[in-house]
Structure formats: structure tokens, C-alpha cells
Symmetry: C2
Subunit: 398 residues, 2 copies
């Protein structure tokens, strides 16, 4: 693919930008070419504390994780998130995007807050022990939240873009059709919900949440803001926190609408394959405290230039997500369908809860899916069959 | 593909709808199966005058025209447009859509006005003389306009839909990528501009207008509301009528925004491959009279059910068109690039003007495209090259 023009920019004028955004782009390119270029620290104004303790984050719900020859992200205790640059164009594009975006005076402050703060890049020992690796240094968006509930929603019915390679286009094209993206205009890429002190976090397998139907997505979006257990099939999501997390003048819906108004007008960037991250602290909600629900955009490895055209693919998908959330606020009791989150390949579910209920749940999930196998496959293949079948499809029997 | 549910509806309850919308849908199906079912008049309340004079419309800019075994549309002098039903699922779907939409009480009146009034169906002698053929009887949206300027804009970066056949999907997928659809979120499907009494109408070849770049579309949208000649390469579009046609509380932009607000919320229909028709009477504008600029949605042969999801593909494309028009209103002088409307296959242009300038224009077009051949092909293949080349690419020398 053609590199977007913002990759070709000359080093930024240090007088025109804030020091922490000083980041010459040609340097990024050499960093990526690890075989031939010496690795050295970036001339960034960002100076981390001397004795930082890096660790693997607990709350990553989607995106590239450690394994298969590339390292995973790290966090420190000062609220920073270290994302290893991907070792092809994607890494260069994402670094260039952050640099361009950070210094772009056409981006209003009301919009800038929806993007992680960018502190530059840094060479760090990779999380997989493979040696020094360049990392983007970003704001850790869940820092400070003791029990974050997090949902990663990849926006757009299309995750590819005209300038991409034919091979990439075909792969994305097939995946968009197989997952929820094509039908819904977005897909849930990953998810974790705080359940309780005893049960810990509920983190359905990513492969499952990517393939949900409209009804299932509706249920998951309700579970995200409910006080009762997301894993009890006999409980309908009570949507207790819908008004405080999704609603209100500073809730998630208001933030998404603010973003939408900008995307209807901005023609600078096309955020292909980018995600909206929705985050709040359920434990605070349970205590009656403000949970500081927030929206952040993440994953910019496929950003292209807008060239005077709005990102209509992003706008359409965002509007669809907004409609789902808006419906929950206006009619929280509608649609009592329960989400299945089934996996037709291995009929399994990844539960990151506490100790006790692990094995009980696992056994019941397997039994349940064995019994329901045919029905579930039928549901997947013919979404219309939802209308003719009982909606109370239990997902887990505890 | 699965027929949408609205095709399976029982005949509409005559007490619940206005008489002119009475139209049992199962009858449509038998009409389409011309080989085995007797053709008869629909039991519609619509009764046309006894002595109607049918003629082929002058102002159709896109859509199926007569030829290749299917008849074209007809109009009469009472303001009605007769669209022959397509002889496969498409005809049945379009008839069913009009019937469903006409009687759907969830569609607000403020939105209903953007759709042609539907009067039922009627058997008529086909325009190609092939015998009796079922026609949709619709409002003729340019009736009453002596010199209509018309633009047909097919909305959506994707004209296919998940339920379609694989063959159809692949054909649309390729066409969306080759035309403006993928990049812009819409493509101009056809266009006619009134030039003057002497020159008549300017009607660029449809194949050309479908492939315009963003800059070219911007110019065409300016030409659409300009008083000076669209075919003189030395004239920049003056956008004289931008404020009265696009702007104002009842102008085209306001109408598109009204539509957008509905599409952000409605989950009844997905209007795949549907067009926005923009129409006004330039001659009235030249006289200083109101031109009654209007927006109509047309072409519903690929409508599917929304199933609780907004038509995010339509919303995205509509937002993109809105942005183009909005930019013209706020910055009419920006971007002086002239549209080429070139055809790399036959280097020709269809000009529906008066008598005198036909041959002169044709000769110059051919000469011009011969000279510019390489440059034009280059422009098509690498849109980015626009930035590096002189923008004043003349399209016609008169």
C-alpha cells in the first residue's frame, strides 16, 4: 500500500508543538528496520521515571497480545501503556498517526480527549524477553480503575481500505462478512465485565464476541451496564447502571455523539479498523460513586488520509453503535433474549473469574452446548430464525 | 436471496390504509410469472383517466432504460411515472417495498414526502412494443418542471447486501471499488443540467460520472447549481444558485439532513443500492423564481429488512454527500479543479444539447481526449497524482 502522506512529513517543528509530541517520523522507520539500523532512544521530551516497574496489563480485551513472535504491551505504575510497534508498515503508520494527531491544530480539544495521550516512543525490553523493542508510550486508559469493565468495539462494516494490498482486502472482506461487522456496522472485538469480588472478571472468548447477532449484541451491551451477574442465565440484565454509564451529559452516549459530530465533518483521517473502547469502574457504581465512564479510540495501524472525504465507513458504524446504546436507554426492558456467546468450534468459554465456579461453569457450558448444538448452529446461519424460536436461550447454568 | 418478510405480508387491510395504497402483494408475484399466470389489472383504487398519452420520459438520468429485452419507463401528462417491473425478484421486491412503505404507519409524514407517491400497478403496453407488461405507477418527480436539472446519486459505499447471491455480491463488490462508491460513500449515477434555451441539456455519459474522483464530484456538484455553462472549460462554476438550491430552510441540504435524522433511527428498511434524486428547475432560478429544489429517494429493487439495525451503509454515504454539499455552501470558492468526465474506453461524451453545437463539441472532445489520453488515464489510476498536476484540466473546448 502507499504510505499515507503523514508518514512523509518532515520532522515536526519543535516550536509549533508541545514538547511531549516531539517525534521525528523518519526515525520511526529506521527503528522498524531492526536488522540494519542501530537502535537508540528517541529524541522525545518524554522522560520516564528512572525506576519503573513494567508489567503485562490485566485488562487488555482485544488487539495484539504477546505470542507468535511479537511481544505484547506493558504498563507501568505511573499510568502509562507501552504498545510494541508492529514490525511492518503498521507500526510505522500507528506511530506516525499518533505523532500527526498530537500536533494537529485542526483537532479540537473536545475531541483530543477521546484519544490516548501520546508521550512518544521508547525502547524497552520486550514482554516476551526477545530483546529491546520500540514501544509507543501512551496513556493507560484503565489506570486508576480497580475493577474496570471494558468493551472494545471495532467500528465500521468494512475494516479494509482501497489502498491496502489485495491479499489484505480479501482477508478482511471475508472476516467482515463472517463476523458482526457487515451486518451491524461494528463488531465487539473483546470484552471484560467485573462480576463481583468473589467471581472476578467475566471475559468471554474474543472469537465468540466477534460473531454475535444483533440481538446478542443488544444483550451484551445491557450486561455491560447491569449490576446482576452476566453469567447467570436465569437473570435478565437489569441495566441498573445504564443511565449513569451510558446516559447523562457526560455518559458514554454523549461522548459517542460528540465524536460522531466530529466525524461527520473531519476529512483529515480515515480510521480504518479502529476501535472504540468503552470503560467504567463497576465497583464504584455498586458503591454509588461516579464511575467516570469514558470512551477512547484506539488502534491506528491502518489509518489513511481523508483527502477531503469524511470517514463514512466509521460514521455509519458509529451511528449503528449509538442506536443500540440509545435504544437501551430509552427501552431498557425490551428484548429479553440472552446472549449465547457460543463457540461452534470448541464449545468453550474463557472465564476469568475467581476460583470456585470455574470448573462448574466449564462442565455446564460443555453440556449445554452439546444439547443445544444444532439449535445454535441454526441460529447462526439463519438469523431470521430468532423470530420463530423461544428467545430465552440460556447460556450458562450455574 | 431470501425474500424480505414484507414480501410475505398478507393483503393489506383496506380499512387501515388509504385507498390508493391498496395492493395485495401475492398478486405482484403472479404478475411477474408472466409465463403461467394470466395478466390482469390490479385491484387498485387508482383509476387513471381513460385517454392517457404515454410517452418515453426525457429526463431519466439513470436506472434501467429500454433495451436488451426489457422495456423502459413511461410517463403520462397527468404527472405519473410508469416503471416496468423487472422480471425477477427485483420487480417483486420493489413493488412490495412501495406497498409496505405506503401503508407503514411508522414512517412519519415528514419522511414520506421524500419518496415518490405510489399509486399501485398497472398493465401497460411496454415501451419497446413487446406486449403488455406490469408497471409500477408512481409520481413523476420532474412533472411540472419545464427544464429540470437532475442528479441521481446512488448512496452507500457498498451496493450489495449479505443476503444477496455470491455472484451478485462479487459483481457489486468489483463495481463499488472501480467507481466512486467505495471512496466517497456514494457515486453519481446520472446527471443532466439545463444549460440554456439554445444549448438545451448537458447530460454526461453515465459511465463517466460514476467514476469521478472527490475533486471532480465537488466540481460537478458546483456545476449543478451554477448559472454559467457547465461545458465551457474556461468558466469556473459560479455557484450562483447554491444558496437557493442547496441552502435555506427548505433547500436540498435541509432535506438531506431531515432524511439523515430518520435514517439514524429507523431500523425497518435497508435501502441497498437506492438513489437520492436531486431536482430543481434552473430556468426558474434564472428568472429569480423559486425552483422548488427537491430530494426524492428512488430505486428500491434491493431493499431488505432492517431487523433492528439502522442502515449504516446508507447513513455513512448520506453523511458524505451532505459534507460535500455543506462545503460548497460554506466555501463556494474553494477548489477550482475542473471535472474531466472523460471516458477512457471510447473518449466520448453524450451531449443532449440543441442543434448547433453538437458536432463542434464532439470534434473538440475527441481531439481533447486524444491529446490528453495518457494524462487522463494516469489521473484515473493514481488519484493522488491530482496533487502534483495542474488542476485546470479542461473538459470541453467550445
Amino acid at each position: 500500500m502507499h504510505a499515507p502522506d503523514f508518514l512523509e512529513h518532515k520532522p515536526l517543528d519543535p516550536d509549533s508543538i508541545q514538547p511531549q509530541f516531539l517525534f521525528p517520523l523518519n526515525w520511526t522507520r529506521s527503528l522498524l528496520d531492526r536488522g540494519t539500523h542501530p537502535l537508540h532512544s528517541p529524541p522525545s521530551a518524554f522522560q520516564p521515571p528512572l525506576c519503573l516497574l513494567f508489567e503485562v496489563p490485566d485488562h487488555q480485551v482485544a488487539g495484539h497480545q504477546a505470542g507468535h513472535g511479537h511481544p505484547g504491551p506493558l504498563i507501568d505504575d505511573s499510568g502509562r501503556f507501552y504498545k510494541p510497534l508492529q514490525d511492518d508498515d503498521r507500526g510505522a503508520i500507528e506511530a506516525a498517526f499518533y505523532s500527526s494527531f498530537s500536533s494537529n491544530t485542526r483537532v479540537p480539544d473536545r475531541i483530543r480527549r477521546f484519544f490516548p495521550v501520546f508521550y512518544g516512543t521508547k525502547l524497552l525490553e520486550a514482554s516476551d524477553g526477545s530483546g529491546q523493542w520500540p514501544h509507543l508510550v501512551l496513556e493507560d486508559v484503565v489506570s486508576g480503575l480497580s475493577h474496570p469493565s471494558v468493551m472494545d468495539v471495532k467500528i465500521g462494516s468494512r475494516t479494509w481500505y482501497p489502498e491496502a494490498s489485495e491479499d489484505y482486502i480479501q482477508r478482511c472482506f471475508m472476516k467482515d462478512r463472517k463476523t458482526s461487522s457487515l451486518c451491524l456496522g461494528f463488531r465487539i472485538s473483546g470484552l471484560q465485565l467485573y462480576v463481583s469480588e468473589e467471581s472476578g472478571l467475566w471475559k468471554p472468548e474474543r472469537k465468540l464476541v466477534q460473531h454475535l447477532s444483533a440481538d446478542e449484541v443488544r444483550v451484551v451491551l445491557k450486561k455491560f451496564v447491569s449490576s446482576n451477574s452476566p453469567i447467570d442465565p436465569n437473570l435478565n440484565p437489569d441495566c441498573s447502571f445504564a443511565s449513569s454509564v451510558y446516559g447523562g451529559s457526560s455518559g458514554i452516549l454523549a461522548q459517542l455523539l460528540e465524536l460522531k459530530s466530529w466525524f461527520e465533518d473531519q476529512t483529515i483521517y480515515h480510521l480504518n479498523s479502529c476501535s472504540v473502547l468503552m470503560v467504567y469502574d463497576k465497583k464504584k457504581e455498586l458503591k454509588g460513586e461516579s464511575s467516570d465512564a469514558k470512551v477512547k479510540l484506539i488502534d491506528f495501524a491502518h489509518v489513511t488520509e481523508g483527502n477531503g472525504i469524511i470517514d463514512h465507513n466509521f460514521v455509519g458504524g458509529l451511528c449503528s453503535l449509538i442506536k443500540f446504546i440509545s435504544d437501551i436507554l430509552t427501552s431498557p426492558d425490551e428484548c429479553t433474549t440472552k446472549a449465547c456467546l457460543q463457540n461452534s468450534d470448541n464449545n468453550n468459554e474463557e472465564i476469568l473469574t475467581g476460583q470456585k465456579i470455574h470448573s462448574i461453569i466449564a462442565v455446564h457450558v460443555i453440556m449445554l452446548f452439546q444439547v443445544m448444538g444444532r439449535k445454535i448452529i441454526c441460529l447462526k446461519r439463519k438469523e431470521r430464525a430468532w423470530k420463530e424460536m423461544p428467545m430465552a436461550t440460556p447460556e450458562l447454568v450455574t
